[in-house]
């Protein structure tokens, strides 16, 4: 009995060890490299950032685009949230869940999709050019701030929409009725009642959007180019193109500091949101009555649907149509190994690589995630320790992908941990990012298993492993499936970290798409479209699976 218990405790230490080795250690390596390059205290990296107008501009641009993206996203999500909380309309819950689709789409896919829609070679330009017989594309959005902002809104709209909607739906409309009886109307209700009451949800979603867009990598790299480098892109250039590792480390440290501050504010707000005194959750939605309400509803939903689906449809259309004719040419090209190809192997092999990595990631993340969840929710664990463990395991999610990958290449390069050329780096990196998803998916269910149920089972004669098998497992199963699907999807789409640690001959699908996009020629572009379409279908299928399995109670994001 006691031996089993000690073994169990030993198991629980595995995720801690994993986190220490592959997350905290690389992070420390970044700290070390930025503060003590050449093994002596030297802040040249930071002085370079502060004194050079170029790097200052990078920082200012990073903040500026994040602020703009946040303001635009919240500005669009607010009326959307109003529509979803106040009105009843057909397919409402379906629309709300489908709006979350971008959340699981890989950045590379989304960037390709927007390029297929409004890029120089995109559908809109093709149509305009043939309609007005133009020589050049009339819409030049690629390599502009606008397209970066558009894609950022695409990504984050649903996060803000969901957060604000779920908060809003819990507020009784009687509070507004009370304000009306007390003499408030129109804008006064918005200004004195609605907006102040939504403030925690608006602030929390704004900070989350800011965090996501501040560390935006794939979108800015592919659609913006070097003249629009964010900190994240700059770290990538400094580390992999210029090989100025101390500077890259200094930039990483700067970014980590900003992210840490933001996360701190975010978790505080989260606590405020969940502790707010919720009024009765009476159904407050109703059918739109006035013509103005109907118009408002239609314009909102119409914009949302067009904005969500046209890029994705454009991607599939462009991958299947060449010069007006249907073709599978781009897809078949994926299997051939053309001589001038930038890849060392047929593109199709990347699909195999990605699938292998994703399966390994899923298994590893499930095992480690379950152990982590027991570690956090465990009854043998001190409560204060558990309170620290929870955010500790969330950290990899809050750390940018590029920081993660960069940490890997500078930390895991000396024996006994020389993994630079190891295939395992990719699934390890993916597992780090996937564990928080698994933990979040099963933790609520794990916490809700009443102790008395397990005690009853024990009194009825069930040994510990039987209790786990017949009580814990069935109750956790839905969460486990959701977590596994998340882990698989995250691994398939991960781009930033993979770019650092992938070996040239075992690229993943996002990396192949990125390489193809960087090459001239319609066939390379077409292959990128085809590969993106495939990756999008995998992500969308996972998304549907998650949405179907996930019931109201599962997952606490």
């Amino acid at each position: 009995m006691t031996m089993w218990r000690w073994m169990w405790y030993g198991f629980l230490l595995v995720p801690l060890l994993f986190l220490a080795l592959f997350f905290l250690y690389p992070l420390l390596a970044i700290f070390d490299l930025s503060l003590r390059p050449d093994n002596s205290w030297n802040l040249s990296g930071f002085t370079q950032i502060v004194t050079s107008a170029y790097y200052r501009d990078t920082l200012i641009f990073t903040i500026w685009q994040a602020v703009l993206s946040t303001v635009l996203t919240i500005g669009l999500a607010l009326p959307g949230a109003y529509v979803f909380t106040r009105f009843d309309f057909p397919a409402k819950s379906f629309l709300l869940s489908i709006a979350t689709l971008p959340f699981v789409l890989p950045t590379v896919v989304v960037a390709t999709a927007f390029s297929a829609l409004i890029g120089a070679r995109g559908i809109v330009n093709q149509v305009l050019m043939s309609l007005f017989s133009l020589e050049t594309a009339p819409i030049q959005l690629e390599r502009t701030l606008s397209i970066i902002l558009i894609v950022h809104v695409f990504y984050n709209y649903s996060i803000a929409l969901r957060m604000i909607t779920s908060y809003w739906a819990n507020q009784s409309t009687r509070i507004e009725d009370a304000a009306r009886v007390l003499g408030a109307n129109g804008w006064r209700i918005w200004w004195h009642v609605r907006l102040p009451m939504l403030r925690p949800a608006i602030l929390a979603s704004a900070i989350l959007v800011f965090i996501f867009t501040f560390t935006s990598f794939g979108v800015v790299l592919i659609l913006g180019g070097i003249q629009f480098a964010t900190l994240e892109v700059q770290i990538y250039y400094q580390a992999l193109n210029v090989f100025n590792l101390p500077l890259a480390a200094a930039l990483s440290l700067l970014q980590i500091a900003v992210m840490f501050a933001m996360m701190l504010i975010y978790t505080r707000l989260q606590r405020r949101i969940s502790s707010v005194d919720l009024q009765s959750t009476r159904q407050i939605a109703r059918k739109p009555k006035t013509p103005f309400e109907r118009l408002f509803l239609i314009v909102n939903l119409g914009t949302m649907i067009v904005f969500l689906f046209t890029p994705l449809l454009a991607l599939i259309y462009r991958s299947l149509v060449r010069e007006g004719a249907f073709t599978l040419e781009y897809y078949t090209a994926l299997t051939s190994n053309t001589r001038n190809s930038v890849l060392f192997a047929p593109a199709i092999e990347a699909i195999g690589n990605s699938l292998q990595f994703a399966i390994i990631t899923t298994i590893a993340a499930l095992l480690l995630g379950v152990l982590t969840a027991y570690l956090i929710a465990g009854k043998g664990i001190n409560r204060t320790v558990s309170r620290w463990l929870d955010p500790l395991f969330m950290l990899p999610l809050a750390t940018s992908a590029v920081t993660l990958g960069f940490g890997f290449i500078i930390a895991l390069d000396t024996p006994p941990l020389d993994l630079r050329s190891s295939v395992w780096l990719i699934p390890i990196a993916h597992t780090l990012v996937a564990i928080p998803f698994v933990v979040r998916s099963i933790l609520p269910a794990l916490r809700s298993i009443p102790l008395h149920v397990k005690e009853s089972a024990a009194i009825l004669g069930a040994p510990p492993h039987r209790i786990w098998w017949s009580i814990d497992l069935p109750l956790l199963s839905r969460g486990l499936i959701v977590g596994a699907t998340f882990a698989f999807t995250v691994s398939m789409g991960e781009f930033g970290a993979s770019l650092f640690v992938a070996r040239p001959n075992t690229p993943t699908m996002p990396i192949v798409i990125f390489r193809l996009l960087g090459q001239p020629g319609a066939t390379n572009y077409g292959q990128a479209l085809a590969m993106s379409s495939l990756l999008m279908l995998v992500s969308a299928a996972s998304f549907i699976a998650i949405e179907r399995i996930r019931s109201a109670g599962i997952g606490e994001f």
Partner: protein, 328 residues
């Protein structure tokens, strides 16, 4: 003061109010008493202006208020869940209505202070409303409705979410405060004890109709329909033919009520039966007496000898307390 004339209202084509007529006099507290779903809260929302599109009319001091939007009616409305603004302090909740009236800061302050003082909330003024107890929230909600000095105060189950002990204490307090300020009030409740304690007059609502308007005592002693009698918890409702011979009841009535207040055990009486149940309830015993096929239920004081179960007894019925009930 407030006249409701032939008001009908449907919600999604389901009729909720049918031809409601009611007249409320200046300075009185009118209780709308009824089961849930009887339309009492809807009637309140209609008067407040929170629901529109009704048939009929509502007049305030002779003027129709149909076209006046909610925020210009100068009414007060207190909700069951209090609907306090969770982002504002106690004082800021109370001052809200005064701000909307664009009163000067000095006037706002003095009126808020007066309202808080009236409800014993002076020391709570800077508190966060989310941290108050149920009873304290109730006071803040009442203070917020009173502060702008409304022409009419409406209270929708104002004690509904509080526990029984607190409710009993607060119902008297609410009545005292309304009377002290001298307001006209409409008070919605489903609890008859609360209505008896608070109201000057009670309007019983049933299925979207007002079926009887009377003082609490009259209502209890002289209910008009079988539904009202049952709703008020009165037993002993029979078809008029049952005791027709013994009591000479009005055969044309739909039903008769042998009001428990007019029943007693006696040596002489009109009815004879057997005690089948005897429940001790402190100062009274509740007796069930089987007479032929029917059962009569009433209380007798417990400080006198009470016959055992199975005893044969004679029941005396005072003729004043035999009440004819008619369904319409």
């Amino acid at each position: 003061m407030l006249t409701i004339q032939n008001v009908s209202f449907s919600y999604d084509k389901t009729p909720v109010l049918r031809d409601v007529d009611l007249n409320i006099v200046q300075g009185e507290i009118m209780c709308l008493l009824g089961a849930s779903g009887s339309g009492k809260s809807t009637l309140l929302r209609l008067i407040a202006g929170l629901e529109g599109d009704y048939i009929g009319d509502i007049h305030l001091n002779g003027q129709s208020i149909k076209s006046i939007p909610v925020h210009q009616r100068d009414f007060g409305l207190m909700f069951q869940d209090f609907a306090l603004f969770p982002h504002l302090s106690v004082a800021d909740n109370v001052v809200f209505g005064l701000k909307m009236k664009s009163l000067s800061t000095i006037e706002q302050q003095s009126q808020v202070e007066a309202a808080l003082k009236l409800l014993g909330l002076a020391k709570f003024s800077e508190r966060d409303v989310t941290q108050l107890s149920g009873g304290e929230k109730q006071r803040v909600a009442l203070a917020r409705s009173l502060a702008p000095q409304p022409r009419l105060l409406m209270l929708d189950e104002p004690l509904g979410s509080l526990d029984a002990g607190l409710r009993e204490r607060l119902m008297i307090e609410v009545r005292d405060i309304i009377k002290q300020v001298g307001l006209t009030a409409i008070y919605v409740t489903h609890d008859q004890q609360e209505a008896y304690a608070v109201a000057d007059r009670i309007a019983i609502m049933h299925d979207g109709n007002i079926v009887q308007v009377d003082t609490p005592q009259n209502l209890y002693q002289r209910p008009k329909t079988p539904y009202i009698a049952r709703f008020l918890g009165l037993k002993n409702i029979f078809s008029p033919s049952v005791f027709g011979e013994q009591l000479h009841t009005d055969e044309k009535a739909d039903a008769i009520l042998l009001h428990p207040d007019g029943l007693s055990l006696s040596d002489e009486g009109q009815l004879q039966g057997e005690i089948v149940e005897r429940i001790f309830r402190g100062n009274t015993y509740r007796l069930s007496i089987k007479i032929d096929e029917e059962t009569l239920v009433f209380n007798i004081e417990s400080n006198q000898p009470v016959p055992d179960i199975g005893s044969h007894v004679i029941v005396h019925v005072e003729e004043d307390w035999v009440i004819a009930l008619n369904s319409t």
